[in-house]
């Protein structure tokens, strides 16, 4: 099958970001990350822990809309206090949204403009500082552009590699920015100085397009592979089980 949407490619890229996580809490924010994490759990990462977004760990995989399908099967009680304990303990991989991100993976979703009197208040620090210094973190950007991939973020909510390095080995040993998935491609930090590298472009996207949409100098390898296309089984899961309403398509636009 070759007929798939960009959102479906993104969901597969998200799922791939969770590959190898095993028995960790997979926390996702945004629709595509929710579809992708569930896709990983439904296929190659069955041991992932996931919550209902309230206070329960749910062992079965349910549609991202929350409606339809079978009822939740609760396997554990995870109130916020337990989530904080768990994230400081490190057995978690979070995929957060970045309103701004720089070449070292410093992320901002707190505000635009000076913090004392921001031009635009966004979500606030939320858990980003603690998450990024404590456990594996990835980011989702549904609208890849030079105003998101910026030279310098206005406020650092999520800690990037340059700042982690300045903290020294003891404080930064749990820091890991694993992947950035955008609507155009997948990015990692597998470079000598831990700056962002183009790991793959989504089918139908050119390398030039990604470079143009990025406000800093991206590391671009000589050969850039194409992001993996969804398998027939993955498409069935996305369309029939995880996101029958096509909410992910609306997020990617």
């Amino acid at each position: 099958m070759s007929d798939f949407t960009r959102a479906e490619v993104c969901a597969v890229a998200v799922a791939e970001a969770f590959r190898g996580d095993g028995e960790r809490l997979a926390s996702s924010f945004g629709t595509v990350p929710a579809v992708g994490a569930r896709l990983a759990k439904s296929t190659f990462e069955p041991d992932l822990l996931m919550t209902d977004g309230i206070a329960s760990a749910i062992t079965n995989v349910r549609p991202v809309s929350g409606g339809g399908g079978e009822p939740d099967v609760v396997e554990a009680w995870l109130p916020f206090r337990t989530i904080f304990d768990l994230l400081w303990n490190g057995r978690r991989h979070v995929m957060m949204v970045a309103s701004q991100i720089d070449r070292y993976g410093n992320q901002n979703f707190a505000c635009i403009g000076p913090h004392e009197k921001p031009k635009a208040q966004l979500l606030g620090m939320r858990g980003a500082p603690g998450n990024t210094i404590s456990h594996r973190t990835s980011y989702w950007v549904p609208n890849h552009g030079p105003r998101v991939f910026v030279e310098k973020v206005d406020v650092v909510s999520g800690v990037g590699y340059d700042r982690a390095r300045e903290l020294g080995e003891a404080s930064s040993r749990h820091h890991c920015i694993h992947r950035v998935v955008s609507n155009l491609g997948v990015f990692d930090f597998d470079t000598p100085d831990k700056t962002m590298r183009l790991a793959s472009v989504h089918p139908g996207v050119s390398v030039d397009e990604v470079v143009e949409a990025t406000g800093f100098e991206l590391v671009v390898p000589a050969e850039v592979p194409e992001s993996r296309a969804p398998s027939a089984e993955e498409l069935r899961l996305i369309r029939e089980v995880l996101d029958p309403e096509g909410l992910a398509d609306k997020e990617v636009g």
Binding site: F80, A110, H115, G124, M125, P129, I133, V155, G158, S171
Partner: protein, 282 residues
């Protein structure tokens, strides 16, 4: 000891410039009847510590807040509290924005009567530049790791809302999450708990397992029976969030006339009973 009191009496203890903590989380099980009582007073210059929801939004929108200590201010189904956003963008209060976990740690330190608790959360982020008063501490052990010393968030008063309570100050949450309500109480000099219903002590264990009796009477100075007191935030299993009302409230942040009408209709009333009646009649 019978600790029954009223919103009015509890709020009468507050003074300008005090530091208060408000339990719940976002738009979930917030002691809103107490927030509404604060809005009936002239209290100003408050420092408010909160996992913020409409409590923070209303107090900011009405100019009561000198400093807000928070990790976020959200209405949950509306991710960013619009009245909070408006007040932030106007620069109308000091924003002590922290990582969510640091907030817990500050309350926990105060609850344990410690000056601070160490944490990695905040290291490397702009939490440390936004809050220049935050200091680091080095582990005295061989690892010598440098950590954030999250200072105790000592409160003059704490306000929480529970599903059930007895007159002595034992409180029960029947929803999914106790949040950090016990820590707010233990971090505060004066501790007030509103509840949906006051029941006999012997009946508390009939409503839920003893694990739900998270608040014990040594944490509480005053108990306020406030049915619907968390409105319009959720208070399951007693009631869900009033999403229609919340949308109406949120929309007023964009329209000064609508905000003025909302204030007159719901906030500039003589009592919580009148508020509840206005909500029923809308």
């Amino acid at each position: 000891m019978d600790k029954r009191t009223t919103e009015k009496e509890a709020v009468a203890e507050l003074r300008d410039g005090m530091t208060i903590g408000i339990g719940g989380w976002g738009s979930r099980r917030k002691p809103m009847s107490i927030v509404r009582e604060i809005l009936r007073t002239d209290l100003r210059d408050l420092t408010v510590v909160t996992y913020g929801g409409p409590d923070a939004g209303l107090l900011c929108a009405t100019g009561r807040v000198a400093r807000l200590v928070y990790g976020f201010v959200s209405l949950d189904s509306i991710p960013l509290e619009p009245h909070f956003r408006k007040a932030r963008q106007a620069g109308s209060f000091r924003a002590s924005e922290l990582d969510e976990g640091m907030l817990q740690w500050g309350l926990y330190a105060a609850a344990q009567r410690l000056p601070f608790l160490p944490t990695r959360a905040g290291l490397g982020s702009d939490v440390l530049t936004i809050n220049p008063e935050l200091r680091l501490v080095r582990s005295p052990y061989d690892d010598a790791e440098e950590l954030v010393a999250m200072p105790a968030l000592e409160l003059d008063a704490a306000f929480i809302h529970m599903n059930r309570a007895d007159v002595h100050g034992n409180g029960q949450f029947l929803g999914p999450d106790p949040y950090f309500d016990d820590l707010y109480c233990m971090a505060a000099k004066r501790r007030f708990m509103s509840c949906e219903k006051i029941v006999d002590t012997a009946d508390l264990a009939k409503s839920g397992s003893f694990h739900t009796l998270k608040i014990h009477r040594a944490m509480i100075d005053g108990v306020i029976e406030a049915p619907g007191g968390a409105h319009f935030t959720e208070c399951p299993p007693d009631y869900d969030r009033d999403e229609a009302f919340q949308r109406e409230y949120a929309a007023t942040a964009r329209d000064p006339d609508a905000w003025e009408a909302f204030r007159q209709k719901y906030l500039e009333l003589g009592s919580e009973a009148e508020y509840q009646e206005a909500v029923r009649n809308r």
